[in-house]
Symmetry: C2
Subunit: 404 residues, 2 copies
């Protein structure tokens, strides 16, 4: 089977899927990072009343006409309004209210003066104002933040911490969001041992499962960890056939090359899945296999640690991003200037690991072998090396895929 | 009391605290974002054996000396080694093993040839090799990724998805991390109504609690939500006195100004807490109050929505960052070039909201009032406006504090 391009492989995957539209209701504090499934209109005017922005006195400004330092105007302070109070007395001429920050301004009052700027006689409840106030001076209007039915957040937006405060301020404590995709992760290989167990001769520890699941977690999805399976196509296909019903997307690792234990080819036949492609024209991660069953994608990554990460970032993440209406952040393609270098010529389009910061992509690492995993630490990018490129040198401009 | 500078306030807070050093053991998949409390040394050589990077045949390269297309050298293939197998047969002259990707290379073999590059007679188990191989061609060395006792991750590093894959590859399934700070959030004010409940006249919905707690969640901390309390200093101080024992840091909102309901001054007296400062020379958020009791900080934010956010970002986050050994990301100070503008002159150092991207800080918003909350949506930065600055114009360079 011919190797297809990365772009063609990605297109093939993306045209098979649509954003998932299952809706769930969430408490606002649990909705961070979810995609809003409804338009949020303001259910109220906010603030819900005219209110004072400071601690002072409120009255009608026309009563201050002519007030000067030498000729202060006296008001009779008839009551005190605290935040949370409600006063239904109507203001009369030369009457004032003592008012605290956030308290509702009574009808008839249209300005507030700071308590530091007046003389107030507590005994006689007499207030002296020695300057003219403008209408609506220090006056917060009902609905000045939002009016009833204003569009507050549009369907499709990803809920951030900013949204949550605003929703709370409107009294909204639950919202409708799209469910995140249920992603299963299955690793294949009789050589794989789960960390924490003793390692027998010839076996290695299972790292791919943990790399992928921790990456999913970082991206805001609790991946479903399936028990790793050995290289038996019957039991693997039976297992997938059963579990695929409960998930939206299956990622497998291993078993996709041409060796005796590369059972995924047989598994997808037994499953009756539709093979979309096998092998793409990149290195590492060439033998990635994609198939579809009942409208659900199965993406079978190379078993090599770095190769599986490359497959996941270049193909799996865009799928997750589309399924989740972008709740799962896609990778970002940018340009970077090389620091350090890379000197392995390849006839294929190659992807290597690097660390991107402030426009530079650092390629200091010697350990580029796709089986080498420790050199992933500290990397946040994969870098494209075009086919036939003899080497990358300091200062070269390259395409960088940010995987953070 | 004199207003102190932001810098002085921050220094005062930070010198009162030390990074928390309580250690807990975590399953690696639950350790994302925690700070490692131990050095991780490799417990094994990884890979744990010499292994084949591909599907092919392995033998000793000296047996291929003189091999050419016209004069291929024949090997007797004595056995097959799959990934996960272990073969303790020693290689003899002109003997080869069929070997699959990831399988251990037997003693005496020192190279691997791809199965596509040879002729193999399945019947007679005869392999024909028509070129000379170099020693260690296609050969992955035991320990080439990591050797026993290599330092893999240093104490103090924040665990990322990359670390988790590497830890798994070494068989490590639990690690020691520092516990994250326990942060309590208490909002004060009899005007506050929890979202989801009906709003009585004169009341408003409690947004600060949700803004702060969702921000904490975004930063990786499950804040402890205390039930909002009314303006009664006795019950508030009793409550704090009890709950402070169980947390590392208390954030309160409201009750810090000079009004009748600004009970926090009284609360800290009743608590016997040590007041560190009250009022800083910025706007909004001037009346922030900080106190300390039994080595724990109480940071009492302004009750105004934007003011409380400014207080939290400028003072609360650095405290959290230090307490958590940087597991909680601090704000970042950078320079930005203004797009749009801001035209409110202030005698004080002022902070306004903005959106930062690619070096530019967008100040398009009209709604800068500190009581306005909806305009927080889409903002990721707060911008410093120096005292006396008449206005900020397109192209001005400003200090930007990234709050994402």
């Amino acid at each position: 089977m011919e190797q297809i391009s990365l772009e063609c492989a990605l297109e093939t995957l993306l045209e098979k899927i649509q954003p998932l539209k299952n809706v769930e209701e969430k408490y606002i504090l649990d909705s961070l990072g979810f995609v809003l499934a409804e338009d949020i209109l303001s259910p109220l005017n906010n603030p819900p009343f005219n209110r004072s922005p400071l601690d002072g006195f409120t009255f009608n400004n026309t009563d201050t006409i002519g007030a000067t330092k030498d000729n202060p105007i006296a008001f009779n302070v008839i009551s005190e309004i605290l935040a949370g109070d409600f006063c239904d007395k109507k203001n009369l001429s030369k009457e004032a209210f003592r008012i605290m920050t956030g308290a509702p301004i009574p009808d008839g009052c249209n300005c507030v003066i700071k308590q530091e700027d007046v003389i107030f006689n507590e005994e006689t409840k007499t207030l002296y104002v020695d300057r003219e106030l403008k209408p609506f001076e220090n006056f917060c209007f009902l609905g000045e933040d939002l009016k009833i039915d204003d569009l507050v957040i549009k369907q499709g937006e990803i809920i951030t911490y900013n949204h949550i405060g605003v929703l709370a301020s409107l009294g909204i404590n639950t919202i409708k969001v799209f469910k995140k995709p249920k992603v299963g992760v299955l690793s294949l290989g009789s050589e794989l041992t789960m960390p924490g167990k003793d390692l027998e001769k010839g076996k290695i520890y299972n790292s791919n499962l943990f790399t992928i699941v921790s990456k999913l977690k970082y991206l805001g999805v609790d991946g479903i960890i399936f028990p790793p399976m050995c290289d038996d196509s019957v039991s693997v296909s039976n297992f997938i056939s059963e579990e695929l019903k409960n998930i939206d997307f299956l990622i497998t690792t291993g078993g996709v090359s041409v060796g005796k234990k590369d059972i995924m080819h047989d598994v997808i036949k037994k499953l009756g899945a539709n093979r979309l492609f096998w092998k793409i024209n990149i290195q590492p991660g060439t033998p990635v296999l994609a198939s579809e069953k009942d409208g659900k994608l199965i993406l079978s990554l190379s078993g090599n640690p770095f190769a599986s990460l490359v497959n996941f970032e270049l193909l799996g993440r865009p799928v997750l991003s589309k399924l989740s209406s972008n709740a799962i952040k896609n990778t970002t393609l940018i340009e970077g200037v090389v620091r350090g270098g890379f000197n392995k010529k390849s006839s294929k389009r190659r992807f290597i690991r690097g660390y991107f910061r402030d426009g530079y992509i650092y390629l200091n690492d010697k350990k580029h072998s796709s089986g080498t995993i420790s050199s992933l630490i500290g990397k946040n990018a994969i870098v494209e090396v075009l086919p036939g490129t003899p080497y990358l040198s300091e200062g070269d401009k390259v395409s960088v895929i940010l995987i953070d």
